[in-house]
Amino acid sequence: MYFQKKRVIAMLLAGGQGSRLHVLTRKTAKPAVPFGGKYRIIDFPLSNCVNSGIDTVGILTQYQPLELNEYIGNGQPWGLNKTHSCAQVLPPYERNDKKSGWFEGTANAIYKNIDFVDRFDPDYVVILSGDHIYKMDYNAMVEYHVAHNAACTIAVRNVPLAEASRFGILNTNPDNSIYEFEEKPAKPKSTNASMGIYCFSWSVLREALIADEEDPNSSKDFGKNIIPNLLNAGHKMMAYNFDGYWKDVGTIDSLWEANMETLGKNPEFDLRGGKRETIYARNSALPSSYIDEDAKIVNSFVAEGCEVYGKVLHSVISVGCTIGEDAVVEDSVVMPGVVIESGAIVRHAILGEDSKVCKNAVVGGAFAEDEKKKISVTSKGAVVEANTVLLPGDML
């Protein structure tokens, strides 16, 4: 079979469990979690690839892949189903050598797919993860990598010093070359946090992955093993500064916040955007939304296929939802297919896909100031029975 040589391909790590999203990822891989009314988290890195001119993407799946695989399909929504492009789902599989079986770490996942990468004979491989919301031109990062003749380039952003110990921190020379990498340091020396987006020269990465497999003590992880090993071996590694919006949506709080940050006239994260900034998604065949004469919608997104009879304030309402008469939805993220019946109140909540809030039920509250931070969550298909209460911070 003929495979066109590619200068750059991307490998998207989408196998993580996302356990900090609790009930939202009970049956779904984190990259398949809905975001922003009509998207899923994975739409952002995938669309970034397409907008950056990267047309070959390997997607490594492992945890609860059913929905994710179905969603990606043949890559058609992102235009990755053409003769010389692909979005290839790469699940773990059995074979008769060391590359057999489950992925045992981020580096191991790529190691086990060396054969896939080799088919395209790429000069550079961009490693991405499926849990961040951002728009980024990966091609600009690759050009930076090439211009600096680096073996590895890591995208970094400035974080507040107080938060720096939650991240992998890169200590750099004045020319932005990296001299030290510290994974979640107790006393960070700088505020350059790794975004988990790497550009490698494939020959270097390939060698490093094979070498790392020989080390019985390695945790087979990019941050813990591959990056420090390459640094110690004296390879040139560069930090690539990115100052656009970027958010790790790995927790309930951050997922809620990121959704809220899409709202407003001049939102912190603008889902709209110019020509090469469109976020593509698999579209559902749903009609336009109906807004009733008694409905009131303020500072909110409402996606297609909805019927709104009640009140929606500062919220994100996803495709195919119904908001009943006299229902109130405030400061909430309502995922696809949710039904909120008449008289129900939903405040400060994330309602999972196809969940239902029955008549006069109350979800969340945020009535007192100290409750503000507690987000109530319903899982996929959950039902909050009529006249019952799901307390702030509770999950169903």
Partner: protein, 373 residues
């Protein structure tokens, strides 16, 4: 048994709205084009070989339909074909449906010779309905007649001129048939959906065109029935059927989508209606917007007041603008403080701040594509 679909797309003239497009490509219902109903009906009935017949102005139609991917029709074998006048040797535009089918004979006779039980389903794109064509085909076969016509009661009213209307006796058999006639309310209207035997259709078309007969309703259906040569079966359609054959009807039918029963039946009565995908963000409702009783597509930015209206994709309604009983198509902008009543804004129209446009229910103001008012 194989079923072939034929969709006619130049069947109604709606003034400015069909100035540069076919009736099949008139935008309808916020995110659709009229042909989406015919295509979705056929696709959901498992019809996989469809010809689209266009006489003129078909650029927007071709752009919309593309290779038929959204309707599951981008196939290795069969799939969609555009049958335009210049696609064959003939250099004349068609005078009638039979002539256009005659000119598309290569399409009908493609691959092997038709089997005796092969069927053709023909539909227009000016009558919109969510029809289960599988049920129509089954009823056609069960009837043993040569032609089945899908009809709708309650359309004939003694005022509207109908392409084809039928009067039925107490057994549901055809008692009378009229063409291009203002029929009274005891007639049922043809929805321009026909099921016919393919081999016979090919023969009839050849025979009739040879005798300079080219009118489908008059010469084939009514003529054949009157001569006693063609048995006509009637399939009464119970759902919502929207006849968009004039600007007034188009306007009223568009706004009727706001009613729940109409909306639910036409969009999802029996199956989904597919359309070309556009990657737009969800619609943003601003701090000061007031939206009532309206159908809103994706990608809009709403800051003004909208009542009893249909908004297409990516429409902007600025602060203090008032929109009432309007149809506003893709990418149009209604400027701050503007006032619109009974207006159809075609695609990409800009209404400058403070402008005032007031039409009437019978004569809505149409603003042409791309204009600034």
């Amino acid at each position: 048994m194989n079923v072939t679909g034929i969709i006619f797309t130049n069947d109604a003239s709606l003034g400015e709205l069909t100035n540069k497009r076919t009736s099949g490509s008139i935008p309808f219902g916020g995110r659709y084009r009229q042909i989406d109903w015919a295509l979705s009906n056929m696709s959901c009935a498992g019809i996989r070989h469809i010809g689209i017949i266009s006489r003129h102005s078909y650029q927007s139609l071709m752009h919309h339909v593309g290779d038929g991917e959204e309707w599951g029709l981008e196939l290795e074998e069969g799939g969609l074909e555009f049958l335009t006048p210049y696609a064959t040797n003939t250099t004349d535009k068609y005078r009638g449906k039979l002539e256009s089918v005659y000119n598309a004979m290569d399409f009908l006779e493609f691959s092997d010779e038709a089997d005796d039980d092969d069927l053709v389903v023909m539909t227009d794109s000016a009558v919109l309905a969510n029809v289960d064509l599988k049920a129509v085909i089954d009823a056609h076969i069960a009837s043993g007649k040569q032609v089945t016509v899908v009809t709708k009661a309650g359309i004939a009213n003694g005022e509207k001129k109908l392409d084809l209307a039928l009067k039925l006796d107490e057994n549901g058999e055809v008692a009378d048939m009229v063409v291009d006639y203002v029929a009274s309310d005891d007639y049922v209207a043809s929805m321009d959906i026909f099921v016919l035997n393919k081999k016979k259709l090919i023969k009839w078309v050849k025979d009739m065109v040879a005798r300079d007969k080219y009118h489908m309703d008059r010469d084939l259906v009514m003529g054949g029935w009157r001569r006693g040569q063609i048995g006509v079966n009637v399939y009464p359609f119970e759902g919502v059927a929207l006849f968009n054959e004039s600007v007034e009807e188009y306007f009223a039918n568009s706004l009727s989508l706001i009613k729940k029963d109409v909306r639910h039946d036409i969009f999802n009565g029996r199956h989904p209606v597919y359309t070309k995908v556009r990657d737009r963000v969800p619609t943003y409702y601003g701090e000061d917007c007031d939206i009532e009783n309206s159908l809103i597509a994706d990608g809009c930015m709403l800051d003004g007041e909208v009542e009893d209206s249909v908004l297409f994709r990516q429409v902007t309604i600025e602060k203090d603008a008032e929109v009432e009983n309007c149809i506003i198509m893709n990418d149009s902008v209604v400027g701050e403080g503007a006032e619109l009543k009974y207006v159809i804004l075609d695609k990409n129209v800009t209404v400058t701040p403070g402008a005032k446009l007031i039409g009437t229910k019978k004569n809505p103001i149409i603003v042409k594509r791309g204009e600034t008012v």
